[in-house]
């Protein structure tokens, strides 16, 4: 895993893009190399959906939803419904691990491409319980949410095969 959080330049967009890339690469690094079985193991009895594959799948839909729906005001694309509020997680148990990883890599690249171009002062076009937001808020939120899930993945990975870092 060669992810670095050090940008080449220290303006706002450069550091945010590099930190998002670093967080995405960290998530991938925590899931890559797990067996199909360990990637689906949820060691906390009280959270049976909290497996590495499910978290990575959730992170893909988090990015897709925030960009497509919140930022650009598009239709909902995620599998979440009123009956299945956790579909973004448990879809990860149905797909092969390689597929979960490939789809996340694809979304990660697409997200970085959007934030490389978008005006960070752009007002979001979708509706949000938080009211008016800017593109920069969404970018920072994705960094924060991915980092927090990486904390979950740190512990799940350590419980799965003892690897840390």
């Amino acid at each position: 895993m060669a992810a670095s959080d050090t940008p080449e330049m220290f303006d706002e967009r450069s550091i945010l893009l590099q930190m998002l890339r670093y967080s995405q690469e960290t998530a991938l690094g925590k899931v890559r190399g797990l067996s199909e079985e360990l990637a689906r193991t949820a060691p906390l009895a009280s959270s049976p959906m909290m497996s590495p594959a499910n978290i990575l799948n959730h992170l893909r839909w988090v990015e897709a939803s925030w960009i497509n729906e919140a930022l650009f005001g598009g239709e909902s694309v995620s599998p979440t419904t009123g009956d299945h509020p956790d579909s973004t997680f448990d879809e990860g148990s149905v797909l092969a691990l390689d597929e979960v990883i490939r789809l996340y890599e694809e979304q990660a690249r697409a997200s970085l491409a959007v934030f490389a171009e978008v005006d960070l002062d752009m007002q979001t076009l979708g509706t949000s319980r938080r009211g008016a937001l800017t593109a920069r808020w969404i970018l920072q939120h994705l960094i924060e949410e991915t980092a927090r899930h990486n904390g979950h993945l740190d512990i799940l990975r350590e419980m799965a095969d003892g690897s840390v870092g």
Binding site: D5, D121, G131, W137, H141, I143, E144, A147, G151, L153
Partner: protein, 166 residues
């Protein structure tokens, strides 16, 4: 204090400082209310220092280091040393939980006060091994690192007493 990630305005500084406050308040939220015993319980056998009290103490000294030492060039007062590289984690086990919480809360206040006077483009006093950060990068790094430790605290708290939540 209301724990929210919704900023008062959409500019860079407002968004970033609100996000920092949100992750700091979340760390406190995850540790408050634990018994002395549960706050010191490390449920993962391979990481005996990964317990809520030690992690919060780590976040305190980490923030001191980045703001007061790296940005401002002040003295490193953290309880770590070459002989005790995990000294700040160990120190979290040696005092009552409330003292760990108060120490972190005081650092959070100090961080806010010190950052308020600094332009985000200001270069840090210290040049690090690979790069020379500015204030903007340090604040984002604190958000990222605190958020990741909050992920650890999420699972530690859930393993401690079953409580969950963003």
């Amino acid at each position: 204090m209301v724990r929210t990630d919704t900023p008062p305005a959409g500019d860079e500084r407002s968004v970033m400082m609100q996000m920092l406050e949100y992750v700091q308040q979340t760390a406190l939220f995850k540790v408050r209310g634990l018994s002395e015993d549960l706050a010191r319980t490390a449920p993962i056998s391979t990481s005996p220092l990964t317990n809520p009290a030690s992690l919060l103490n780590h976040l305190r000294w980490n923030e001191h280091y980045w703001v007061e030492v790296v940005i401002l060039g002040g003295e490193d007062r953290a309880p770590w040393s070459e002989e005790h590289p995990d000294g700040e984690l160990e120190a979290g086990l040696e005092v009552p939980l409330q003292e760990v919480i108060d120490g972190y809360s005081e650092q959070v206040q100090l961080t806010r006060t010190l950052l308020a006077d600094l332009d985000f483009d200001t270069e840090a006093d210290k040049v690090l091994k690979d790069f020379h950060p500015n204030v903007r990068w340090v604040v984002l790094h604190l958000i990222e690192e605190t958020a990741r430790h909050n992920g650890h605290l999420d699972l530690l708290r859930e393993m401690a007493d079953g409580s969950v939540g963003d």
